[in-house]
């Protein structure tokens, strides 16, 4: 029944329309398959040694250009005058451009970011209060996955105009651990303990050497900074182990961390002297 209806409808079409419809269908199917094939082959084989970011950009350029060409071919097949359409598109483009200044600004920022390459896919980035791993760098925005598995989209314009920290750009980093110790502690002894703790830690690099600094006399104690160099992938291992090691070693050696303290001195009530009595009376 259904097939009969279709057949009747197809029979009612003129041969010209039928041929054109068939050509459009073939153009669409072949065109899309070819574009997809070209994008995949380029990414997997021709750009095999390029980084993921460049592969993604090339794949997108091929896909969007390919889809545009297929669309043009289909419109041409349907008899649409492309010259007029492109002229109209130019006028529409200007109007849309005025209306979407932010998007255009993002695209231009994206082009700057792509050419400047301050980061790549897989880097850990800190933008404002957000820290995460870069999932993709697109023309309009970059996408991050935070460490608590949230998806964050940051417009390229914001990236370009704000301070961005690429945490994993260099292979090694320094972790600075700051704490305060009691004023009564022997600083040389504390220095020796920290040097030993750093040297015994398996994640801390011995070259560049750890930095131990007594940075400031604070209200409740002396501020100490221990700076340890580590390979960027060892952040969590080092952080956990060094905090545990410092705490255990200080406890064993009797070194006390500083706590907020107030010294209150109690004095006896003022004695009433003849001079004080006379001053009060006057």
């Amino acid at each position: 029944m259904f097939f009969n209806q279709i057949r009747t409808w197809v029979d009612s079409l003129s041969p010209d329309v039928l041929t054109r419809g068939l050509r459009v269908a073939v153009t669409v199917v072949l065109g899309l398959v070819l574009v997809r094939l070209l994008a995949v082959v380029t990414q997997r084989y021709i750009m095999k040694k390029s980084n993921r970011q460049r592969q993604m950009i090339v794949r997108k350029v091929i896909s969007y250009s390919g889809f545009f060409l297929v669309l043009m071919a289909v419109l041409g097949e349907l008899g649409v005058k492309l010259t007029a359409l492109l002229g109209a598109a130019g006028i529409v483009g200007i109007a849309v451009g005025f209306a979407s200044q932010t998007s255009v600004s993002n695209i231009i920022s994206g082009l700057f970011l792509i050419s400047e390459k301050p980061f790549a896919i897989g880097d850990v980035l800190r933008v404002g209060a957000t820290t995460g791993i870069i999932q993709s760098i697109d023309l309009l925005s970059i996408k991050l996955r935070t460490f608590d598995n949230l998806f964050v989209r940051i417009p390229n314009e914001k990236i370009l105009s704000s301070e961005v920290t690429n945490i994993t750009r260099f292979p090694i980093r320094r972790m600075d651990i700051q704490f305060q110790i009691d004023y009564e502690q022997d600083l040389s002894h504390v220095h020796t303990i920290l040097a030993a703790v750093a040297s015994a830690n398996p994640w801390s690099l011995d070259e560049p050497e750890p930095v131990i600094m007594f940075t400031e006399f604070k209200e409740s104690g002396i501020e100490v900074m221990l700076g340890l160099w580590f390979a960027k992938s060892d952040f969590i291992d080092l952080k956990n182990s060094i905090m545990r090691d410092i705490s255990a070693r200080f406890a064993a050696e009797g070194v006390r961390f500083a706590h907020p303290r107030r010294m209150v001195s109690m004095t006896s009530p003022a004695v009433e002297t003849p001079r004080r009595r006379a001053r009060k009376a006057s």
Partner: protein
């Protein structure tokens, strides 16, 4: 027992439901076989500084631990332990800074700690596991941007092989240097790309000999690896091949000549 304990690297037949124990200074390795499963444990032995040896012991003697690793392999019970060099370059810090004057040449015997690799034997030998026998520090060689992550080791620069104590857990690397330049060659740190070196077994363990002619800080000089066994003993046989076979590496990546090669 031989003085070096080198027999510790002989193949071992582990019967069903028995344990093999390899004991090295500061480390013991336990392997238990149950049907097609191999249970492996590596334990630090802080107090042990004696000879290296291997024994088959009853299961009741195996140490209780939650660190046992389990592997599945249907091969026979014969296992092949082999010494292999560490997986990253080793930066050796000599106990004293030495300067090789222009026109002079010398040979050093460097002691490299080896890792323990256990493989199955038979038609398709397979690596079961690898374990460092000595604890090395992590260190960085070069500047913080382009340098490389290495293992660090404080060592003595031996001028003769007689002064190197034989040991089954260390391989000796003969390093021959010629200073064919007008400038001094300072040995503050030496970075050895041990992943390019093989190990040979004689009365002790040896690596390939290394040979370098230093032509000055601004000249490209290559560290050449001699692929035949070092000629300090007769009848040496290869026991493990290089992780990354190579003919040599650039000397710029070798010596820690601070004033020339780094910005520190």
């Amino acid at each position: 027992m031989d003085k070096t304990g080198i027999a510790v690297w002989d193949p071992v037949e582990i019967p069903q439901k028995r344990c093999a124990m390899w004991r090295f200074p500061r480390r013991s390795i336990w392997v238990e076989r149950i049907e097609t499963e191999w249970h492996v444990l590596s334990l630090p032995e802080a107090g042990y500084e004696g000879d290296s040896f291997c024994r088959i012991v009853a299961r009741s003697q195996k140490p209780p631990s939650s660190q046992w690793r389990h592997y599945l392999h249907r091969d026979s019970g014969t296992m092949q332990p082999s010494p292999v060099l560490p997986d990253k370059p080793v930066v050796m810090r000599p106990d004293r800074a030495l300067t090789l004057l222009p026109g002079q040449s010398t040979i050093f015997f460097l002691e490299l700690p080896v890792w323990f690799r256990l493989s199955t034997t038979g038609y398709r030998p397979a690596k079961v596991f690898e374990e460092p026998l000595s604890v090395l520090t992590r260190t960085w060689f070069g500047d913080p941007v382009t340098g490389e992550l290495c293992w660090g080791l404080a060592t003595r620069l031996h001028h003769s092989i007689e002064s190197v104590d034989p040991a089954a857990d260390r391989a000796v690397c003969p390093l021959m240097i010629e200073n064919d330049s007008e400038s001094d060659l300072e040995f503050q740190k030496i970075c050895l790309h041990v992943e390019n070196l093989s190990i040979f077994r004689g009365k002790r363990l040896w690596t390939n000999s290394l040979h370098a002619v230093f032509k000055g800080p601004d000249q490209a000089t290559q560290m050449e690896i001699v692929h035949t066994p070092p000629g300090f003993e007769e009848g040496m046989v290869p026991v493990s091949s290089a992780r990354t076979p190579s003919t040599g590496w650039n000397i710029r990546r070798t010596f820690g000549m601070l004033k020339y090669f780094t910005d520190f």
